[in-house]
């Protein structure tokens, strides 16, 4: 962050413009439930109740410049517990947008720039041709080395496919083998799906940088890409915020989208119920225990508890009901892991880990050996705080465990399995 001066905004005025009728920051009872339940409370000497009070008192300069806005992950837990339903993340969003580009955390700005640098909309700047290459390359290898999958498909730009599938850039970029379990699952259920060379990437840090225009543009590229291929369903894979940024933007900007937005979790659950994914927990002979992280971006902020129930159904089917331990609190009341809102990209490591302590305690209290989560950010953050605070749990994707249960997890697809799980496969 540089010293470039941050303009002062009038938060009270903004709040009045912004809030729907009947919702007012004046309604705040100063009860402190928000702050009590916010993992960012205390960081930079700020908390959500204080933020609202200061806004109401016109302490605009302090609020315009506090770096705390980059530590609030915009998870909206404060709103969830607020008796007056006050959403402070909206003010944080405005405050973020108000920071001059040069002063914002460079990692978030850079990620947004990279997203806009190619038609891929990839925060790692992976261009369409490279994506196509990686997918073909990996596919080739699987066909050659895994006889059961010698006809595996990973369609690209297939017009009229039912599912338009997105992918977090981390996979094609850093761990391409992690794409394979997902392809195998699609293969098994006979899904009619495609990747797109345009707008395929999932992640979206433009929203987190507070740059509304950039956020719109990224989503526009993605919406256009889905419309162009004529797909019925934009299927969000295991990445939390990509769903929220797309879903929210389409509503917020009133965009034309001729397709449904769906989360892969819903389909995992459906395919298991329909018997298309014949998973079971028989493999878990040692009763290895699992917990699950509800990403706020798809649970609290979007679908609500319905998807959290689907997630639990999937986990229990995979590991056995008796081996599943819920974190407390959970579902819509769950804590953000502390990696969201661009925190992982913002370079504020110490603050991020302070935030993550709450998640660490939650996981530690379960005593589970593994955390399952359908979100890349959550995944990275929980691994990091695990190492930092001396936890001994692993973090796994759903697709890994599904393929493990089905006995189709390839040699190169086992990065996140600890010795206990590996021992059960061999």
């Amino acid at each position: 962050m540089s010293d470039k001066k941050i303009p002062t905004i009038n938060f009270k005025e903004k709040a009045i413009e912004l809030l729907p009728e009947g919702a007012s920051f004046d309604a705040c009872l100063t009860c402190g439930l928000c702050s009590s339940g916010c993992p960012a409370s205390g960081i930079e000497n700020m908390d959500p109740r204080k933020f609202i009070r200061m806004a109401m008192l016109g302490m605009n300069e302090e609020l315009s410049t506090t770096p705390w806005v980059w530590c609030c992950t915009q998870c909206r837990r404060c709103q969830h517990v607020c008796p007056m339903n006050i959403d402070i993340s909206q003010l944080v969003f405005i405050a973020r947008g108000n920071w001059p580009q040069e002063a914002k955390p460079a990692g978030i700005v850079r990620s947004c720039q990279l997203i806009r640098s190619t038609d891929s909309t990839s925060a790692m700047g992976l261009p369409p041709d490279d994506f196509i290459f990686v997918v073909e390359d990996v596919l080739q290898e699987v066909r050659e080395t895994q006889p059961a999958f010698k006809n595996l498909q990973a369609p690209m730009d297939k017009k009229g496919a039912h599912f338009f599938v997105n992918q977090n850039s981390r996979e094609p970029m850093n761990e391409p083998d992690e794409m394979v379990p997902l392809w195998k699952i699609f293969d098994m259920v006979g899904a009619d799906w495609t990747y797109s060379s345009k707008g395929w990437a999932a992640e979206n840090f433009c929203m987190f940088s507070g740059d509304e225009e950039a956020w719109y543009e990224v989503i526009k590229t993605r919406v256009d890409a889905v419309n162009a291929l004529g797909c019925k369903v934009w299927l969000n894979t295991e990445c939390g915020h990509s769903y929220y940024t797309m879903w929210n933007a389409i509503n917020r900007f009133g965009m034309e989208a001729d397709f449904q937005l769906e989360s892969l979790i819903t389909y995992y659950a459906r395919w298991i119920r329909e018997g298309k994914l014949p998973v079971n927990s028989d493999w878990n002979t040692n009763n290895i225990t699992f917990t699950v992280q509800d990403p706020c971006m798809i649970v609290r902020k979007a679908y609500g508890d319905a998807i959290a129930e689907d997630m639990r159904f999937v986990v229990k089917s995979l590991v056995g009901e008796e081996n599943f331990i819920d974190m407390q609190p959970n579902r819509s009341a769950n804590y953000c892991c502390g990696g969201g809102g661009g925190f992982l990209q913002a370079g504020m490591t110490e603050h991020r880990r302070t935030y993550g302590k709450r998640k660490f305690d939650q996981i530690a209290a379960t005593g589970a050996a593994y955390v399952l989560t359908p979100c890349h950010n959550c995944h990275s953050q929980m691994e990091d705080i695990g190492h930092h605070y001396g936890g001994n749990y692993g973090v796994v994707h759903f697709w890994t465990l599904i393929c493990l249960s089905l006995g189709i997890l390839g040699e190169n697809e086992r990065t996140y399995l600890g010795p206990d799980l590996l021992a059960l496969i061999d």
Binding site: G32, L33, M84, A364
Partner: protein, 429 residues
């Protein structure tokens, strides 16, 4: 992209998630009624955890030792009071079912007894209440037995001061002393009880805290702590700490936002759906309308619009704080159905001149009126609709703050309203 409306069909819709709404859902569950419940966090999250039935007969300042006798007095002096219309055995049964449910759901409570318990407040004063969380029960016992006891607080914790508790209580409890310790890993800055409570769900934190507690207790065998002994498994956390320290340990409520309230709320939000209730937390009904054969409730959550169809509705929307009543220049209204609100004739009559006036203020008795079967009265003095019932502090003719009867009114009237709703549901569905 089209928004899809989600539809729910149910027998009973409960509007409100305060104590009254949650109690209504519990009673309806026990009667195997199909339920949908909607509402923001009500005052539940602010409560001390104590469930008061009757601590004072409203205008009288004398503490009520025996609430059952108190109710008899209330009946004579306040025949309009909602509790005056409910048989004592129904009130007791309501408390029993409510506390049993809490216990089965992981938060053990003492059941309703013959007399009130003399319980400790965050400030170190005493109050009368009927039921207390098991984690707090040893406090009143230690007080009654006048056992030597150390009250322990923590650096950085606001809303609870051991010194204050001791200063206010010492003349009644001479063997009381105060101590302060550092909470493990939270030595700096302001810390909320909620954060400590969650940290104590981790065994390693308990082990470290136990050592500090033992040291602080010295020779004394009983200690009182602010209410932060775990969030999800408070009884386990307390017994583990007792085991590790060899001490008798009890909790004292803190100022809001307090852990006992958050415990209840999180428990309801988790357990209700498991029991088959369609629970939509944190949202408000925006429209409620009635057809002859059913009621329709409209709302939206983050995901989109929701419509609920129900055979019966219980309105438990609270008073001003929760939005069940609204105060305007021209008077007090009930916003959802515009039910007539019993209220002082004009705004100037809302408050008496002295804020501390013993008789209380008339505005604190404002609310909606009901008939003998808990049906709110409409403009013409007859029930608004046969499918509509009401419960909780939205009801007129009670000042629950002065009467120290918050939970009592919520639980007892919910019990009665569910009974009445069941009669309707059974009579003809």
């Amino acid at each position: 992209m089209k928004e899809e409306t989600r539809h729910f069909e149910t027998e009973l819709a409960v509007v409100g998630s305060g104590l009254a709404g949650c109690a209504a859902s519990i009673f309806a569950l026990n009667r195997k009624i199909k339920i949908a419940q909607v509402g923001n966090t009500g005052a539940v999250a602010y409560t001390t955890g104590y469930l008061d039935l009757l601590g004072a007969v409203e205008e009288s300042s004398k503490a009520v030792e025996n609430p059952w006798d108190g109710l008899e007095l209330l009946k004579k002096s306040h025949p309009d009071h909602p509790l005056s219309h409910i048989p004592a055995q129904d009130i007791a049964e309501g408390f029993r079912q409510f506390t049993t449910f809490l216990g089965e759901s992981g938060i053990a409570y003492t059941g309703p007894q013959e007399t009130n318990i003399t319980a400790l407040t965050p400030a170190g004063t005493l109050k009368k209440t009927l039921c207390v969380p098991a984690t707090m029960a040893a406090g009143p016992q230690a007080f009654a037995a006048q056992r030597p006891c150390v009250i322990i607080d923590f650096h950085g914790l606001k809303g609870f001061s051991a010194r204050e508790v001791v200063a206010n209580l010492r003349h009644k409890w001479p063997q009381l002393t105060a101590a302060r310790v550092d909470f493990p890993d939270m030595e700096k800055g302001e810390i909320y009880p909620e954060v400590m409570a969650r940290a104590l769900e981790v065994a390693a934190t308990r082990t470290r805290l136990a050592e500090l507690l033992r040291e602080a207790a010295g020779e004394i065998k009983t200690i009182g702590l602010p209410a932060l002994l775990g969030m999800h498994t408070p009884d386990l956390v307390r017994s583990e700490l007792e085991r590790l320290t060899g001490l008798t340990i009890f909790e004292i409520p803190t100022m809001p936002p307090s852990v006992p309230g958050i415990r209840l709320r999180e428990m309801f939000e988790q357990v209700f759906p498991q029991k088959g209730i369609t629970l939509i937390p944190q949202q408000k009904i925006t429209a409620l309308s009635f057809a002859p054969d059913r009621a329709q409730l409209n709302l939206r959550d983050n995901y989109g619009p929701i419509v609920i169809h129900a055979k019966a509705v219980i309105l438990a929307t609270g008073r001003f704080l929760s939005g069940g009543l609204e105060a305007h220049i021209t008077g007090i209204t009930e916003p959802l159905l515009d039910l007539p609100v019993h209220q002082p004739p004009s705004r100037t009559d809302w408050y008496r001149e002295q804020y501390t006036d013993r008789q209380g203020h008339l505005i604190h008795k404002a609310g909606i009126e009901i008939d003998a079967s808990c049906r709110p009265l409409g403009k013409n003095g007859t029930p608004y609709h046969e499918r509509l019932f009401a419960a909780g502090i939205i009801l007129a003719h009670q000042d629950w703050i002065r009467g120290r009867s918050g939970a009592g009114i919520a639980i007892a009237t919910a019990y009665k309203a569910v009974q009445a709703a069941e009669d309707l549901l059974h009579a003809r569905i």
